[in-house]
Subunit: 136 residues, 2 copies
DNA sequence: GGTGAAAAGTTCTACGC
DNA sequence: GCGTAGAACTTTTCACC
């Protein structure tokens, strides 16, 4: 079970996933070893699944960020599910309900790169693309 | 500018954002102080924007995860942009191009909670909802 | 840009309550 | 579950190349 104290720890890690046990302990008045033990347990239970970084993809040369939704052609689903996570452009992939089966966020250099990426997808399904203007 | 070594560091942090400077240094044969200095610079330049955790929302009592797209009514955009980030259910919000102006990922307890959330949104725009089945 | 060394701080482990 | 204490390790700063 996830206690109230666990939720406090999670809320601190949401803001800064690199916060030290000692730092978290100071904020919620608990010893570093207790914090460590609780976080360990949350990781073991997979309540905390991973620690990630948020990057500025434009600064890394990928100025185009888009959502692409895919309506997969009959029989192609299994193939695309294994294939799609290997593309370096793909940041996140979800299976969803509705007219499209797959939803992904993708970072690309420019329009040409987007065109080439879409060309790879249209063998397996019909894509719809939405440009990401900003994140709030 | 972001060098080849910086990209290696970023790739390690992508896998585990809590990796220590010493650990990263061992992996790419560089001293902890150099790693620290480079990461510091990447943070200052905001190439690295933040360090996050990925949570299992179902285990935290929010078994329904959905994408909601919103077509905002005339004149309501500014209001919704400031309002929406204050909802605790909202995990991410993006402004996008296309028939919908806003794209968000939301974690909710159950259908009733989703209904209540949608009821709040329909004052400001027309929402479309897609259930997230799984993340790949 | 990089290292290495010393001080300060953190993590880890074991044990007691 | 939490705290403490000591050993091991990491971070931080700084002088030097």
């Amino acid at each position: 079970m996830v206690s109230d104290i666990d939720l406090k720890i999670i809320n601190i890690l949401k803001i800064n996933a690199r916060a030290s046990f000692a730092e978290i302990g100071r904020e919620i008045a608990l010893s570093p070893s207790s914090i460590r033990e609780r976080i360990q347990k949350l990781e073991d239970q997979e309540v905390i699944k991973s620690y990630n970084i948020k990057l500025d993809h434009a600064m890394l040369g990928n100025g185009l960020e888009v959502f692409i939704m895919l309506k997969i052609f009959d029989g192609k689903l299994k193939f695309i599910l294994s294939e799609i996570t290997t593309y370096p452009e793909v940041l996140e992939v979800f299976r969803i309900t509705g007219p499209y089966n797959i939803h992904m966020r993708v970072a690309l250099r420019d329009q040409l790169h987007l065109q080439q990426f879409i060309d790879k997808l249209i063998k397996y399904g019909s894509p719809t693309t939405h440009l990401i203007l900003s994140e709030l």
